[in-house]
Symmetry: C2
Subunit: 329 residues, 2 copies
Amino acid sequence: KRRNSLNHDDLLSGIIKGDLQALSSGITLLESNRKSDQEEAQKLVNSCLKHSGKSIRVGVTGVPGVGKSTFIEAFGKLVVAKGYKIAVLAVDPSSEKSGGSILGDKTRMNDLSVLENAFIRPSAAGKSLGGVARKTRESIILCEAAGFDFILIETVGVGQSETMVKSMVDFFMLLMLAGAGDELQGIKRGIMEMADALIVTKADGDNLIKARRAKKEYENAIHLFPANENGWIPKTLVASALEQYNIEKTFDTIESFVNHTRINGSFGRNRKQQDKYWLHETITDTLMSNFYSSERLVNEIAVVEKEVIEGRISSFEGAEKLMKIYNHE
Amino acid sequence: KRRNSLNHDDLLSGIIKGDLQALSSGITLLESNRKSDQEEAQKLVNSCLKHSGKSIRVGVTGVPGVGKSTFIEAFGKLVVAKGYKIAVLAVDPSSEKSGGSILGDKTRMNDLSVLENAFIRPSAAGKSLGGVARKTRESIILCEAAGFDFILIETVGVGQSETMVKSMVDFFMLLMLAGAGDELQGIKRGIMEMADALIVTKADGDNLIKARRAKKEYENAIHLFPANENGWIPKTLVASALEQYNIEKTFDTIESFVNHTRINGSFGRNRKQQDKYWLHETITDTLMSNFYSSERLVNEIAVVEKEVIEGRISSFEGAEKLMKIYNHE
């Protein structure tokens, strides 16, 4: 079914006026796998590019159960109350299978989604993480052209999606639970090291003392991390979406991060690095997917893998063999 | 200059007999960048393949100053005294520039290198980490065909070389210094998490108490790491090459690791995964290097990078543009 029937100029002018229906259709277009839609989507993204770049892009991650949606909703409402526009995009590479989180997100963020200056878009689906990355990056461009001041990219704390989100945002925050026992258990160091802010959630009622203790432990851990290039020392916070506690402080933290990195120039440098990174990342993705989807190699890859595993040829000779078939040599 | 003048059959039979001169010539051949040498080297590696696979491959890393060479020398002498043959290969991607470490290694391991059953080969040089990886992996095959029981791959604790070494060895050990103050400072978590054994070196004299304290701290830290697939809990040790303290225990640790992983099947599984990994890693490397060395793109890449960074085209359109030029479209 064709959900988008608007032409390029109508979509573009709608998006630039901040029309949420047009924005939504635009994102649907770039999520489409139809060849003709993809060409249209590229045209649209290119037209939106010169209107983009002005938002603060914020990544949010945390394990399921940490209260991401509740936190984002509380944060989003605050941002809107301050007179800004906020878009929330979800990245959930696992959802393409279950499709479960899509309805979930919409339901959970009900209070935020009814606000005029908020836009919530469920998970971009895709066959590969590369595909999801592309769609998310392009959705950011469309949202920026539509005048959003803050763009939150939400991801579940699994696998490689954090690295992907980190490489497309200005500010990355990690939500954490105050657990029983040792606070550092079970959290991947790499993800902690990526964070510009660590926020211990559900800091209310009986949980407050535990949350403060956890914050203290994280704070000590952060001192051991290698320093960030941008000179920013990651902040730790406790917060409660339920009691609106430290939601404003989260906002202030982002603001002072942006000031800090704009003054020392790392804000712009980081974005340029990200653009360059995605250029080369896309090249790698394309080269790989062309190779692995090559019809000439359909049966050959498994055969060579077997030969290599059984020690009949070396990994390097195996690669050369496949490369020759691929290149018709 | 051509350092190798032996033909394939002479080289092969020499290597299989365990002749160190033939082994050395074989490795020189596969380090050569001459096209004809490379073809000869491939033939040699393939002939050696069926005689390979029987050694224990051990990775050793640690920051400069940790006493790697001294430790390896003490360990190597012990291994030889037990009646085994040991080869030490160094991976040092930085040495291709300075060339400094080559002489250094030879000099420092003088006691070991004079032993009949020891073979020490300085750093494989190469234009890329991929090239160094290939040469090292192939050197392992040649050393195994020459009957070595232990193959140590030594690397300096910088950059990505640890990940590379980890993916070509059975057992990975990290040497550490007992520092002043906090023991966890400055060590990359990722590298600690890769280690099957953490060894605090220079545990002698005044340093012994400090080393034991450091070992304790590392031990506590290890409990927080995610469990290994192979069910092995990384061991921590203090050791002194000077006083021959715990060198034997290091050997026993490796032995019990091998027993443990052979019994549960992960030893063989890991090797098969590594072979498969290197097959696909080589494919990626080749695709990328063909692309980036393409004459058609010599000037184009910088032009497109600039367009992307200046926001004139998206990263994705930029990639497409380069891809079209590359594919003559």
